[in-house]
């Protein structure tokens, strides 16, 4: 087990910077989610920690020691690849044993650890199967077992669940979290699925265009995203713009939101309330309900405010008294307002 640190990491491909001065600490034993749109550099960062990508400048530390000159095979990492990369010519147990065999671990010790790893991922009964006979979820588990059997210092997961269908993905998220807790290994994983990142990680980092935009515990980042990109990328956010005035933020419809600085604020869809009569809340807007989408327990309202589409999400029961379309009042509690840093 070890903490990982990257320091001012830069990697350019031609004119494009896949990593642009990224400095980040991955705490020992933590589950760290790297999140960002495609091309944001999250995979490059993971591959730089693994050693597959050689950074142009900057440093990578594993367990406090610099590893720039340590090749992949000596970094003592475990990695799970997007399509699992199981060896097709080997059985499940041969796949899992591979890392021990190349380390010339004794036969008895190898057999014991392979059995333990397969039991950890609940695949003990499939040890002698060929990998092509397995389902997607089972392959995922084999890949996990193979990556942790060598007791690596860091576990790197590259979009580990993206090849699975939705229901299985949710199961595997719980499973991944359980395995990581049991093994207690420092884990860094890359995903473009924000829900997955929020569910699994105890810390997240958000990348955009090769830069680290924001990092921290998921709840903290979600509640205080600090910039519009993070607000919209992590969860959903309704952005509202106005003109700052001494007593508050003046919106384009003339309404004043007292005490807010602006010029841009955000409100999460789940914080928005809809009413047909004017509410007493200080933050309220007159808007037009365009569409109500029934989604089972939860419902979504599409609202037009000053030509801008806004979204409200809530229990369907909360929206029951509303017309299908027409003028409504929007309001939200003061503490649900997301304000950004002045220069964001």
């Amino acid at each position: 087990m070890a903490e990982v640190r990257v320091e001012r990491l830069v990697k350019a491909y031609g004119a494009a910077r896949a990593l642009d001065e990224v400095t980040l600490d991955f705490p020992d034993g933590g589950f760290f989610g790297l999140l960002g749109p495609s091309g944001s550099g999250k995979t490059t960062l993971l591959r730089a920690i693994a050693g597959f990508v050689v950074p142009d400048t900057g440093r990578v530390f594993i367990g406090g020691a610099p590893v720039e000159n340590v090749p992949v095979e000596h970094r003592e990492i475990g990695m799970v690849f997007q399509n699992y990369a199981l060896f097709p010519n080997m059985t499940v147990e041969e796949n899992v044993a591979f890392g021990l065999v190349v380390r010339k671990t004794g036969a008895a010790e190898t057999a014991k650890r392979v059995r333990e790893a397969l039991e950890l991922v609940q695949l003990g009964h499939l040890a002698t199967r060929k990998t092509h006979q397995l389902s997607g979820g089972q392959r995922q588990r084999v890949a996990m077992a193979r990556a942790i059997v060598t007791r690596p210092r860091v576990l790197l997961l590259d979009e580990p669940l993206s090849a699975l269908d939705k229901a299985l993905r949710v199961d595997m998220q719980i499973e991944l979290k359980r395995i990581q807790r049991e093994v207690g290994i420092t884990t860094i994983f890359v995903t473009h699925d924000q829900e997955e990142a929020l569910t699994l990680s105890d810390r997240i980092g958000i990348l955009k265009d090769g830069r680290l935009v924001r990092h921290g515990p998921p709840r903290e980042v979600y509640d205080d995203p600090r910039d519009p990109f993070t607000a919209q990328f992590l969860g959903d956010a309704n952005l509202i713009e106005g003109t700052p005035e001494p007593e508050g933020l003046r919106l384009s419809d003339g309404k004043l939101l007292p005490g807010l600085k602006g010029p841009t604020i955000a409100v999460r869809p789940e914080s928005l309330r809809l009413d047909t009569t004017e509410p007493t809340a200080p933050f309220r807007l007159r808007a037009r309900l365009q569409q109500r989408i029934f989604g089972g327990a939860m419902g979504t309202c599409i609202i037009d405010w000053q030509g801008r589409p806004l979204k409200a999400v809530g229990r369907d029961a909360d929206f029951r008294g509303l017309p299908d379309a027409g003028d409504v009042w929007l309001s939200w509690p003061k503490e649900s307002t997301i304000e950004f840093r002045a220069n964001a």
Binding site: A50, F52, P71, V72, E73, H74, E76, I77, G78, M79, F81, N83, A85, L86, F87, P88, N89, F98, G99, V101, V102, R103, R146, A147, T150, L156
Partner: protein, 261 residues
């Protein structure tokens, strides 16, 4: 109507091709089993020519030499060719495309020209004629075939598997041995069979590079035909054809030339 006519025409065309390809071979095989030395009919079965062949020390010696040269060539060409294919697959380096392009002309250049060029060159650098020269020449001819076949197999290899192996602590050599080679093994076997066939069936280059009295089987067959045709030649040719076709069918199985299965 015209569709059916075209279908018939196509079948007739295919029949003609197969006829001209295989009829001479079948006739030769039949004559190797005919008692008459002068191809007289009616056909009378006889194993005499195979008996005579079995006692012909010259032919047996040449056949033995051909086989061991082919084996040596196969081992060298397959090893070098596989290593070259993996290197070309893994690495990007300046001049790679030129190098790859340079691998193909030897397949297209007439062997007569290659043989002449090799003879002149080998005399120039002091290797001269003889078995070493034949082996070097055959390896040079067989190498492109091996590289083409092995590279074709490598094209379907998922590189992430090598990364996975490295992440698990495998050295470059361990990755190659445990992950890459098992995947391309059918290609290596097919390439080896090609190399064997190129060497074993090789006439022109062997003719130029072997020393008189120390020749390979195809060269011996050619020189004996000039002296006078005997049904023994039919017998040995029939055996060669059977072996060569067997090898090619094996190679086809491994490369799936004829599509799947």
């Amino acid at each position: 109507m015209s569709n059916r006519f075209l279908a018939h025409l196509g079948r007739a065309y295919l029949g003609l091709i197969l006829f001209f390809l295989y009829a001479p071979i079948l006739v030769m095989a039949a004559m190797s089993l005919n008692a008459s030395e002068f191809y007289q009919l009616p056909f009378k079965f006889s194993g005499e020519w195979y008996d005579r062949l079995w006692n012909n020390r010259e032919i047996l010696a040449a056949a033995g030499r051909s086989i061991w040269i082919a084996v040596v060539v196969t081992v060298i060409a397959t090893t070098l060719g596989t290593a070259a294919s993996i290197a070309l697959f893994r690495h990007d380096f300046p001049g790679k495309r030129i190098l790859q392009a340079l691998l193909f002309p030897p397949i297209a250049i007439p062997w007569l020209i290659t043989g002449t060029a090799m003879l002149i060159f080998f005399f120039g650098i002091g290797i001269g004629r003889g078995t070493p020269a034949v082996i070097i020449g055959h390896v040079a001819l067989a190498l492109p075939y091996v590289i083409v076949v092995v590279s074709a197999r490598l094209a379907s290899f998922d590189r992430v598997l090598e990364e996975a192996a490295r992440s698990l602590g495998a050295s470059a050599w361990q990755v190659t041995r445990a992950v890459t080679v098992p995947w391309i093994l059918p290609g290596i076997i097919a390439g080896g069979l090609f190399a064997f066939a190129v060497s074993f069936d090789q006439f022109v280059v062997s003719y130029f590079l072997s020393e008189p009295g120390d020749t390979t089987l195809p060269v011996l067959i050619y020189t004996s035909i000039r002296k006078g045709f005997t049904p023994e030649i039919n017998a040995i040719s029939t055996i060669i054809i059977a072996v060569s076709m067997g090898l090619m069918l094996l190679a086809a199985r491994f490369t799936k030339f004829g599509g799947d299965r």
